[in-house]
């Protein structure tokens, strides 16, 4: 991971000290809640239904064992013994006291962590591929460029009071694990035919109440010009994004109203006026950042891991875990291990302090001290020797983290919903739990295969329902919780927005409806088709009938 130097540490320490002063002014009565609100929101502190929620930034979803243990300590000392990983690869604590927040930030700063820009109308935590540095697919390490953007955007004087929040995703693989096309800016690293590295620059994607897929405004931006080019985009947005209506303030609305071509023209015009040599990062600093990522000491191993193969042959649970949670690594003899935070019956993304400690121990002992958070609210140990996977699996199982359900129906994204969030119309967590229970038969779940179910408790779409193979949106109907189902969305490289299935269903019908959709898919699917493929081939009709016909 990126190793902080003294300057990085002092920047985080200064910000923590600044926030301590602001909290003291609030507690001392020098600031009203109205005056304090924008200040706390610049630092990830929300006032929710029951308590303050503190959102901690995990830049591009990368943490080490010491940081994970610190999360565990904070969960025990200041929260109720658990934390919640989010779709922005961040960690949230939902039961925080305002007076404790300065101490929490100091304790985070000790391990190079912070809550800078995890809320507010500024550039938020940059997300990236959780398999970065481990997958053979990537053309370059996207974490390097994510860190470049993190530094540039941290306390940016011109772009900290944008019309609305602003989210970057950076990917470098053909398979997109970042949902780049539903970000304000999605950057996809590609190598051109002549071998030069460049970014495909996609702008104006987003979810919320008006979902859009991002438009490509540049096919191949030479990587060295990244900062001057995104400066041009942010400047056009800062000047011309709408500020009269919070629901029309994201860059996607500006891009849609101007048209992608006109927006691109304005960006190019602005970019031409920016002095690129002053505003682009010098190559020396780029090289420094690249070198500041800890080099990993991979061993030379045989591609065939004898102990691993033997263990799988004798342990069906391990074999299942290997099929679903272990992915190919770029180095022979290693695997990428996904740790599901979707144990059936649990809250998606939640993890206890004890589980955090176990993951930290495993990363240190077997995983080159590297842990990632995925936007699908799971964890990853990106570098595990295949022969160590049986031991890792056993220790995960002992702490209740060995669910072999990655990308299966019970691997559900859900926002905190009405159980925590002041904005929600409906609960999301119990709906996720009910659906997951329907897929507790692991053989059945594997037979169904890849199925991405995503649940949001309100129209703000934090649970990504627009890009679910099955998306579920909680709505309020005269004080009752109803759920609008939609089908056919994808946040991956084949991105698409889900379409509404039909009238909203009461809470007690949702899990049953998902079952009916799955049964229809199993009847109709051809060959290796995923649910999404079958839907794309057949359209809405058979699915609609499956859910609504029985009632007629």
């Amino acid at each position: 991971m990126y190793r902080y130097d003294a300057i990085d540490r002092e920047i985080v320490a200064d910000r923590a000290a600044e926030f301590r002063g602001q909290v003291e002014r609030r507690l001392g009565g020098d600031l009203t809640e109205d005056q304090f609100k924008p200040l706390r929101l610049m630092n990830g502190l929300y006032l929710q239904l029951h308590a303050y929620m503190l959102r901690i930034a995990i830049p591009y979803g990368s943490v080490n064992a010491a940081q994970m243990r610190r999360f565990a300590d904070i969960a025990r000392q200041y929260d109720k013994g658990y934390g919640h990983f989010t779709t922005r690869q961040n960690l949230q604590f939902h039961w925080i006291k305002l007076a404790d927040t300065p101490d929490i930030l100091d304790r985070l700063a000790e391990v190079d962590l912070h809550a800078i820009q995890t809320s507010g109308n500024c550039i938020r935590n940059v997300t990236s591929d959780p398999f970065a540095g481990a997958t053979a697919e990537e053309v370059d390490d996207p974490r390097v460029w994510s860190e470049v953007i993190r530094q540039w955007s941290t306390l940016h004087p011109e772009f900290s009071y944008l019309p609305r929040k602003f989210k970057f995703a950076v990917t470098a693989s053909a398979k997109d694990r970042t949902a780049a096309k539903v970000h304000d800016i999605g950057l996809a690293l590609r190598r051109s035919r002549d071998g030069t590295l460049g970014f495909e620059v996609m702008v104006g994607g987003g979810q919320g109440r008006t979902p859009y897929l991002a438009s490509t405004i540049r096919e191949h931006l030479p990587v060295g010009h990244l900062l001057s080019y995104i400066q041009a985009i942010l400047r056009v947005y800062n000047r011309h994004g709408r500020r009269d209506n919070i629901y029309k303030a994201r860059i996607k609305i500006l891009v849609a109203s101007l048209g992608a071509e006109e927006f691109a023209r304005q960006v190019e015009e602005e970019w031409a006026k920016i002095d690129a040599p002053t505003n682009d990062l010098p190559d020396t600093e780029l090289a420094r950042i690249r070198a500041a990522f800890t080099p990993l000491a991979f061993e030379t191993l045989a591609p065939h891991a004898g102990a691993y193969e033997l263990a799988k042959a004798s342990d069906p649970a391990l074999a299942r875990f290997a099929r679903n949670n272990v992915k190919a690594h770029k180095v022979a003899g290693y695997g990428i291990v996904e740790v599901s935070l979707k144990t059936i019956g649990a809250t998606p993304g939640d993890i206890t302090a004890e589980q955090m400690d176990v993951v930290a121990d495993l990363a240190e002992r077997y995983g080159l001290d590297d842990i990632r958070v995925t936007h699908e609210q799971n964890l990853v140990l990106p570098h595990v020797k295949l022969d160590d996977i049986p031991a890792v699996h056993a220790q995960l199982a002992a702490t209740g983290l060995a669910s072999a359900n990655i990308n299966l129906a019970s691997d559900i994204i859900a926002c905190p919903g009405l159980d925590y969030c002041a904005l929600a119309n409906a609960r999301a967590i119990p709906i996720a739990q009910h659906i997951a229970e329907r897929f507790s038969d692991a053989d059945h779940a594997e037979k169904v295969g890849e199925l991405k179910i995503k649940i949001s408790g309100c129209i703000n779409a934090c649970g990504h329902h627009h890009v679910g193979h099955i998306g579920i949106l909680g709505v309020d109907k005269k004080g009752e919780e109803f759920y609008q189902l939609s089908l056919g969305g994808s946040g991956a490289e084949d991105a698409s927005l889900a379409q509404i299935l039909g009238p909203a269903l009461p809470a007690n019908r949702v899990a049953e409806a998902v079952d009916q959709l799955v049964e229809a898919y199993l009847r109709e699917r051809q060959g290796e088709e995923r649910f999404l493929d079958t839907f794309r081939r057949l359209g809405m009709a058979p699915f609609k009938e499956a859910v609504y016909a029985p009632a007629l």
């Binding site: 130097d5 002092e10 306390l155 940016h156 011109e158 990062l281 010098p282 020396t284 600093e285």
Partner: protein, 166 residues
């Protein structure tokens, strides 16, 4: 009336405001004045002929480029913060300094709070009319709160990547 603070090197001093801020509906008084962009565009020549100093107030939705050719004749430009959360004036100030080469006073007016002081200085503001009762000492502390900056801006502060090479 809000006080007027000015940057003097690393210090923040209270300055006498020699300008009168004139609303569009009011008559132009004697002396140095700050007027709106629209008024400057219609009455600017006459005002300048009077030998006084002129400043222009620029609203968040107005394009500072419209002033480009008049800047050498202006003593100050005052980008307005209609609300603390409206960040357009940061771009206005940045463009004044970096692109249009303006060397006169750039004064922050409107909903101007100490929390923004550091960002304002980095974007090229050198005068401020705080609306939150901040003292010069508090303003100075806010400007100097962060020992390092990561990115280039309209000020002369060396970013972290320059410090690292030193």
């Amino acid at each position: 009336m809000h006080p007027l603070f000015k940057l003097a090197g690393d210090e923040v001093i209270v300055a006498d405001d020699t300008f009168i801020d004139v609303a569009d509906e009011d008559a132009i008084p004697e002396g140095d004045v700050i007027v709106s962009l629209t008024r400057f565009q219609t009455e600017g020549e006459g005002l300048l002929a009077g030998g006084r100093k002129i400043g222009v107030r620029i609203q968040a939705d107005e394009a500072v480029e419209d002033l480009a050719y008049d800047l050498p004749r202006l003593s100050l430009v005052a980008p307005v913060f209609p609300k603390y959360r409206d960040g357009r004036a940061y771009t206005t100030a940045t463009l004044l300094r970096e692109r249009l080469g303006f060397t006169g006073e750039v004064r922050a007016v409107g909903d101007v709070l100490r929390e923004q002081a550091g960002f304002m200085v980095r974007c090229g503001f050198d005068a401020f009319q705080p609306a939150d009762g901040a003292t010069p000492a508090e303003w100075r502390a806010a400007i100097h709160r962060h020992r390092h900056v990561y990115q280039r801006a309209a000020d002369a502060r060396p970013p972290a990547f320059t410090e690292r090479r030193a």
